[in-house]
Symmetry: C2
Subunit: 285 residues, 2 copies
């Protein structure tokens, strides 16, 4: 039997490897290298430019944490913009809220969406199902530059790292436009890298310093994402008026009656309680 391993270098001298049962698909889109794999422990997974994006085993962690945190702070959110998130998991989770009226999803690479529809229906299942969702295959930075003022209540930035196609989503220009297109009650959640390995911690600090210069409220929360470098991953929570802890609406969220495998309203509080070295690193950013 063939002995095939996928390996990601988490640092130059640190590697994470998964034995591959089948290399299902490989192609170079205009934006990036896209690969789909089949494995035992993680089920199907896909990578962009060789970096792990989504596995069947733990995508629920990432998608729970990007969507339910803001929905529990402002349960009245109705108009949502997703930037990136081509696998569809973020859209799937947010569309579970029946009162959401409109979701615009802006993914730069149509091939990611089409391939996830083919190979990862677990995450992509809602992408051609729900009439509230509109897909735009465009650059996210350009999209927010051209969008009208105050037309969204929530922006979810489900992006790759700030190298390659995701780069523009870590700029002042992008964050300022997010602020402009968000309503007064608006919340921005962004992929915030990781505090552990130096190269990721550097990007975490850069992102945080820009977001806290843009939004009156800018916090960071953590979760366990075992297939990402170090397994210690962060999202940013920024808003014009809502504090993610003081304004948490526990009962309102529980009344939605959503079953979640990672998120719960106690964990919501806990996720914002950061280790001292992470807090200090963000304060000095």
């Amino acid at each position: 039997m063939i002995d095939l391993w996928y390996t990601e270098n988490h640092q130059e001298d640190t590697r994470f490897s998964i034995k591959v049962k089948e290399h299902l698909h490989s192609e170079k889109s205009p934006f990036q290298q896209i690969d789909f794999f089949e494995s035992d422990t993680f089920g199907r997974f896909f990578t962009l430019d060789g970096l792990m994006m989504v596995t069947q085993k733990d995508e629920f962690i990432y998608h729970d944490m990007i969507t339910h945190i803001p929905m529990a702070v402002n349960p009245s959110i109705k108009r949502v913009l997703i930037i990136g998130g081509g696998d569809g998991g973020t859209a799937r989770e947010i569309l579970r809220y029946n009162h959401i009226e409109k979701v615009d999803m802006v993914e730069i690479d149509e091939r990611v969406v089409r391939l996830c529809q083919q190979y990862l229906p677990q995450t992509a299942c809602q992408l051609d199902q729900d009439p509230r969702l509109t897909l735009y295959f465009e650059d996210g930075l350009k999209f927010v530059q051209e969008a009208n003022d105050e037309i969204y209540d929530l922006i979810l930035v489900d992006s790759t790292d700030p190298i390659g196609p995701g780069e523009g989503l870590f700029t002042y220009d992008f964050y300022n436009n997010c602020k402009r297109v968000l309503s007064d009650a608006g919340i921005l959640i962004n992929q915030h890298e990781s505090p552990y390995y130096e190269s990721y911690a550097h990007e975490m600090k850069r992102a945080h310093s820009k977001i806290k210069a843009t939004f009156p409220i800018a916090k960071v929360y953590q979760f366990h994402m075992p297939t990402y470098p170090s397994g210690h991953w962060l999202f940013g929570f920024a808003s014009k008026k809502y504090d993610p802890l003081a304004d948490l609406q526990k009962e309102a969220w529980m009344n939605f009656g959503l079953r979640t495998r990672y998120y719960n309203t106690d964990l919501h509080m806990g996720a914002f309680m950061l280790p001292t070295y992470v807090k200090e690193s963000l304060e000095n950013a």
Copy 2:
């Protein structure tokens, strides 16, 4: 230059690898295979039977979380028993509390202690320095079986996995004896494995079902330990009367004036807020 990598199989089909600058030491003790390595990202690290124990980069996380959680719940703890912990990091942290009167440390394998003193002074620094500490090179299970009633306020089980020398530390016999030798105010902290990979989750559940059958209060808390399988690791908190959240003594702990890089009293609360799938897995254990 030689291309040398240390690899741990986190599952049969999942590997974590670190590039090794130098294989400093390798020996087979009467109990296990012991190896010390030098690396760039993690500094020095050592393994037992090929499994990662301690790295210079992130040992502070593990040692903060095993010691400061119980000390912040009962700041009057004076008599401590450490089972395992041959690297010395747990002893080092607990001995930072000046009011601690006595620490007995029971490590089955003297070679681990001697080699850590030679290669890992960062963790082993207090093992021959502090007169309050007594080292016993014995089996931890046998030690608690023979110890007198109610002579400790805190037991810290800093053990390997429940295979090999650590096996006896995951039994009813051990937990019952821990309960017996603990004072009425006593707390037991134990290495509680991980919820993510199935084989570790299985051991997590086995340990929890025994501990909750033994102690009136039995909770579990989590932390980010990137060099352990999945990076999502747990300790158990068991006691006769203290609840780790309701009885947290924030101010008393802060008055100790200890500088910690991972632990803080907010994180203390957050660490007990578990993901839904972990909570359910423990409830059904």
